[in-house]
Subunit: 420 residues, 2 copies
């Protein structure tokens, strides 16, 4: 396929080049060439009125929770989980999980996201939805034993079973991850076994970390250590560890993260909405970004997340220099890819990488005048992209989902509403 | 005109009723009836898949600054104004002002705003753009003498001249307002004359107020009083006063505002982006909302503004109860109308009011499932509305601007870019 005469290409390559009026030649799902007057016999797409950006990466989701958008908006994390979310989640079976995740993929695709890092239940069903959507993802089966040692082994066995389901799919777009829930819900034993499982299969270890002051205080009181120090002592934060939220760190912990090259996933909207606090993103060397679920956000629109990500850093530090526009855009593209260990495959538009591309109308009302493309994308654009391609295949074409009937799905999901 | 079988009508009436499957009958620009099986011979619009909300009200704008989107993103208010904005604004003549404002009206209309409260220069040209767009507005010619007494009278005379231009338009949609810039740029003499001008014509008095700590400190140092106390002593905050930003107030000032029924315009995105602080909205009895200009936001999308408005209150007070979803939606509808003194005409969907209505696709990806309409509109929706009607006339139809060629305008404005 040839994307001809792309008006702007926001490459996110090492020099952060923005190319003008170039062609992108795609073969076997990869970017074969970027240049002028490239030729191709089969499909040619005129991109003379398009801005092309790398597919965005949402590094922390619970996709199936799209079923629960707007059920509870005014509680803090603990009350929200205990009173409103966990009782409803208990009703989500595999089929509901599939439908909810499929709805989430539609929302992500329609706002330019091509890859997500998910943590939920019924992971085999989540994988079915991801497969149908065309998206890339990392999927983990949540583990928590609530400090009941009778449950620990079952949690691990179940997670391993779900990993096997994903491996059996033999779909290179869909990768398993190991996802213990948090130090609030996992015993030391479970955390250690999570680490062993991650090592056994060489997988990403993704968990919630230091999201609330309560989590830190409980951990100090019950285990004598702050959450990150506990994880470090148990050997979890080496290698492929990635922590979601990461709000309440002291200086020692920030140094530890930076020294270990550990990524934190910044979730600005969810953290603000639940009044959990603001991630000290400015201090962190390794940062990616996520939306969390729509139950606490309440959408999966990374463009909005990027804007609010910068704004909250400025509020936290009372400093307009607290975070640059380029850095937040990096967190949703190349740094997101690096966090997930897929930076050789995606996260930027470069020869040899997979064609994970988002096309945006240059004449969009939010993108004019065009004094500064990155600024317009981060602070102004509302996420309504025109086309999305993953591994060279369109998953969104002319603002419509390609791989399933979205209208039918919305109707189906609306009918589930009374269950909750 | 008949809007037939509206799936949901978010009335914003006193009981905040949400009606289902009702017709809205419109005659002579007004809502004549709301009910079932209403009949009408002429135009009928099927609304069985639409959510109808009142037209949104943006209570603080500098519309023409749409020309300057993204020119400066990383400075605080004073540096941003002195170094990047004022030098560029000096180049904006009447014609540029007209084109920039027209672009702003397109952005506002396409995101469901029907009325804006503007403060700028070349007000006669701003009025021409507003007239063309079909929008309602309050327009003020900015006055500032920078404490140079030779300039004071000229500023007042010029503002009065611009008021006359607007009155001469004889367009009931377009109303003049009196807009001294701020205590940072206006002498006592100019503030007093502003008040007299507002009284003479019985107009809204709209100005920036307590936006930065510097403003408060300078006022204390140079005039021995905090900004709001100064304005009160000079007699400005009686009657039709409305203050934009309103971030740095002490308890005495908050009490004074509440006692006087004075509205503050909350501008969450702009204030966060410029690191000016967060308005103590929770403490204020009278609150409306604005975007400020795209040069500091960087868009005019009130849906995004409402979401960040709630989130920032939760951050400021570290409390999920700091602001309710309903209150922020009120600030952009009926409370916005009240702030501008037009609550008998607009701000809610009620019999006898003007038909200022926004139609939104019920099947929009951000609005499903529909557990809670107001929550979905405030926290999830990205602002892509389908139709906008002002005084019963469509200004947006099927996501397209009705009254001018937007593509042509975008091209024209892009060509102006090199001027700045």
């Amino acid at each position: 396929m040839l994307l001809r005469n792309c008006r702007f290409i926001v490459t996110q390559n090492e020099k952060r080049e923005i190319l003008e009026n170039k062609d992108i030649l795609i073969e076997n799902g990869k970017i074969l060439e970027i240049g002028n007057n490239l030729s191709k016999k089969d499909e040619v797409v005129d991109c003379s009125d398009k801005i092309i950006i790398p597919g965005l990466i949402n590094s922390h989701t619970h996709a199936a929770m799209n079923l629960l958008r707007g059920v509870s908006d005014d509680k803090n994390l603990q009350e929200w989980l205990n009173e409103d979310i966990w009782p409803r989640e208990a009703k989500i079976n595999g089929e509901l999980c599939y439908q909810g995740t499929l709805l989430a993929t539609a929302e992500m695709l329609l706002t330019g996201t091509t890859c997500f890092n998910d943590m939920y239940f019924h992971t085999g069903d989540v994988a079915r939805a991801a497969e149908k959507s065309g998206m890339k993802c990392f999927l983990g089966q949540v583990m928590h034993d609530f400090f009941d040692e009778d449950k620990t082994d079952d949690e691990v066995k179940n997670a391993e079973k779900e990993i096997t389901k994903i491996v059996d799919l033999k779909n290179e777009r869909i990768k398993p991850a190991i996802t213990p829930h948090s130090v609030e819900t996992c015993s030391d034993e479970l955390l250690i076994k999570s680490k062993e499982l991650a090592n056994k299969y060489n997988l990403l270890l993704h968990m919630h970390l230091s999201e609330t002051e309560k989590e830190v205080n409980d951990c100090l009181k019950n285990r004598g250590k702050r959450p990150l120090i506990l994880l470090d002592n148990l050997g979890l934060i080496k290698n492929k560890f990635i922590g979601a939220h990461g709000i309440h760190f002291n200086e020692e912990e920030i140094n530890l993260l930076n020294k270990n090259n550990s990524f934190i996933i910044y979730n600005p909207c969810s953290n603000a909405k639940l009044a959990s606090g603001i991630c000290p993103a400015r201090e962190l060397n390794y940062l990616c970004i996520g939306t969390d679920s729509v139950a606490s956000n309440n959408n999966l629109n990374l463009f909005e997340e990027m804007k609010f990500g910068v704004l909250l850093q400025r509020v936290k530090y009372n400093d307009v220099g607290a975070m640059s526009t380029q850095r937040i855009f990096d967190s949703a593209t190349i740094e997101g890819a690096r966090a997930l260990g897929i930076e050789k495959e995606t996260g930027s538009i470069e020869i040899g990488k997979k064609a994970d591309l988002v096309l945006i109308d240059k004449n969009n009302i939010f993108l004019n005048p065009n004094h500064n493309i990155i600024s317009n994308l981060v602070y102004s654009f509302n996420g309504t992209v025109s086309d999305v391609m993953i591994n060279g295949n369109f998953s969104v074409r002319n603002k419509e989902i390609v791989n399933f009937d979205l209208g039918e799905l919305i109707e189906k999901v609306e009918n589930f509403r009374e269950l909750f």
